[in-house]
Amino acid sequence: MLFNSLSFLIFFPITTAIYFCLPHRARWAWLLLCSAAFYLAFIPKYLLILLLVIAIDYVAGLVIESAKGGWRRAFLIISLVANIGLLALFKYFDFLNANVHALSAFLHWNYPVHNLGWLLPIGLSFHTFQSMAYTIEVFLGRQRAERHPGYYALYVLFYPQLVAGPIERPQNLLPQFRQQHTFHPDRIYSGLRLMLWGMFKKVVIADRIAVIVDAIYGHPQAWGCAWLVIATYGFAIQIYCDFSGYTDIAIGAARVLGIRLMTNFDRPYAARSVAEFWRRWHISLSTWFRDYLYIPLGGNRVGPIRWAINIMIVFVVSGLWHGASWTFVIWGALHGAYILLSRWTRTIRQKLWDATGLGQFQFVTNAWQIFITFNLVAFAWIFFRAQSFASAKWIAGHLVRSPILMHPNYAVNALPPFDRFDLIVMGGIVLILEIIQWARTKPQLSQSFFAQPKWIRWPAYYALIVTILWIGNLGSRSFIYFQF
């Protein structure tokens, strides 16, 4: 069930109303039932895989906590292997197999294993990582094993964050299921506002830009470099609005129910370096990798070469987490390379700033760094979005080379999103988005808005809703991160 579908519009108020009518002791069961129904809406049989993950890690948590010495580590490894094995089977087997096939063909070996061709269960990477976070935390002694199978199942299945995060930590989520959440109008208004804002970002911005991006990335050879640049910047905005829109709806829906989910985005395109970008983008995933991969590898408390290797391992694995394809691996590796280059050139860049004298103007420094970071990130998105490595290579190689305004006639003449007026409107909406995003970081501004009487605040909400109805893409496009 998509958040931007009619089903969810019916599902959410009904389930929420029943949730608040039920006594506290029955609420976990109701939430679990709703979460299962929510997941069943995608591919019902894959609920069994999710239940398997839940069963493995529920038992693993208990045995890890009760075991002593080397057995603790052994049980953790068994649990991790089971989780990663499931992920590998569904997500990476065909990718590895295809590569082994190619290598065998190159070496003239006979390799008879065929691809499985299984469909990836929606959100498998998300709930596997969330489940693994639990067993690792239990192993590290930072979280007690959950005795109640219902609460543990809900920790993995909780529907607002089930399919695309935020990837929660047990310390944050599990205790909240035990707390009694009273009916709290202000919290509900706040959650609904956040859901509305997320819906606006998804339906009005991301899904409309998607039409342009899809058309250009679908046949990049037919388009000139100006269009390729527009599509690349467009995708940067699309994926942000798509994913952060989803996250806003997820956090908002959970908040209505009284559950506080972790922050996942913090104006990532305002980052002044790629490292900072990763502290602002998909925070729940980047902190997962930091806590459970980067730090165990030694983090930055190692020599420079080992540190560089650690960084590359983390980012390549992060790329692979997103998708089983070389384009994702390159995307991850590019980000790793950016961070390494940034560190290695820090002294030279500082000297350059000092030599030009511009370093003393903080605004200029900030604007330049934000501009460069955004462009580096947008360039890397080419590999994330392109349909194949060849296509990505073509786009990257023709960003400044192909005829500037070349375009297929059918698109620019027939498709409204390519109309100049439409492009201007979209540009205006993105500008408004940026202003609102900026205002959101200023507590005084937001507080003063919420301090206004209803007749000032409500028209703003009405304007958002009417804009969604007027120009939003109401065709229930799926969220980009659902494929992971």
């Binding site: 599902f11 069943l40 809406a41 202000d186 208004y189 970081t441 507590p443 507080q447 009405y462 007027w470």
Partner: protein, 352 residues
Amino acid sequence: MDRQWDEFEPACATATAIAERASQLDHAARPRNQLVLEFLKTAFLFSLGLLIVILFCDWRIGRHFYHTHGEDLIGTDVYHGINRANTLSPSVRTVYLGDSVAHQLFMPGTEPSPNVRFITTNQAISMAGQYYLLQTAFRNDPSVHTVYFFYIPGCFGNNLPPRLSHDYFCGYFHRLDEVIEIFRLKHDSQLTASHLGRWLMPNLMMANSMWNRGDDDAPDLATPTTPIAQSAPDPEPVLSLLDHCFGKIPDGPEPPAGSYGQSLPVISNYFLTKMRALCKAHRAILHVLPCPLSTREHFEDAQHTFEQAPMRVDPELLIDAVHFKSQYIEEVRRKVIAFYHLPLNASLITRR
């Protein structure tokens, strides 16, 4: 009181926590029922305001469309067809209905005499739309005694799929009785949602379609080159539950191009039967005739729906699989009138 919570977590975490605590203390002092009542009151007022705003915007957009857009609107031919059906004069004795090929040959407004009326539109409105058009015509002038209905055989395959129906059918046929009838027949919750949206805010939804036309990535939406595939059943549980409760009639297999398959799909079958009954009730004669088909086009009339076989034309005359190049329309029209023995004087049909 809804200002205490804010969603701006990164920068306002502390402010939020303080405000939340203050709000909780405030609410703790009040009984739960009072809070619920207060919430329901606010929700009601907000919804009422929203409804007023939406209706106002819809009216305003409608005015804008009326004055500026004209022919640019999606499905203008349907709009004209409905208008023509609504303004039937007592002298009209013969009505021509049909799809976009019929629309090329017998365009509304080009009638050769006052006792003939062309209300041809396109196939995207499906048989349901054709029936409602005829019903409107009869309502305005019960003295019509002959109806010619021209249809490309493949168009009977239109069972109101989402891609075209939301704009062309739901966009123009959204009286409450029509919404209910289609829901009772199809139990397609997405279609019903679109229908209700068009019923409540037709202009706003039209504006939305105009903005999002690019998403269909097919410029000639109303071209019926092949029968339209059936819409996939909605897999979402909440809406599918409705379908299960009402026992949705299963959609048949997709018919081959150029035919409507072994049997008519639900919508076509139901409304063709109703159209025949409607004509019979008004003592009018209904002629169901196939539009001229290319000699390359497959034709199959498994249930003898048409009165006669189609006139065949040279594919060179066509701009696509079914529509005629503009320079050949008059010539084809003359041949069609002769072939089907239509009581029309081709030379009196005016150019538009």
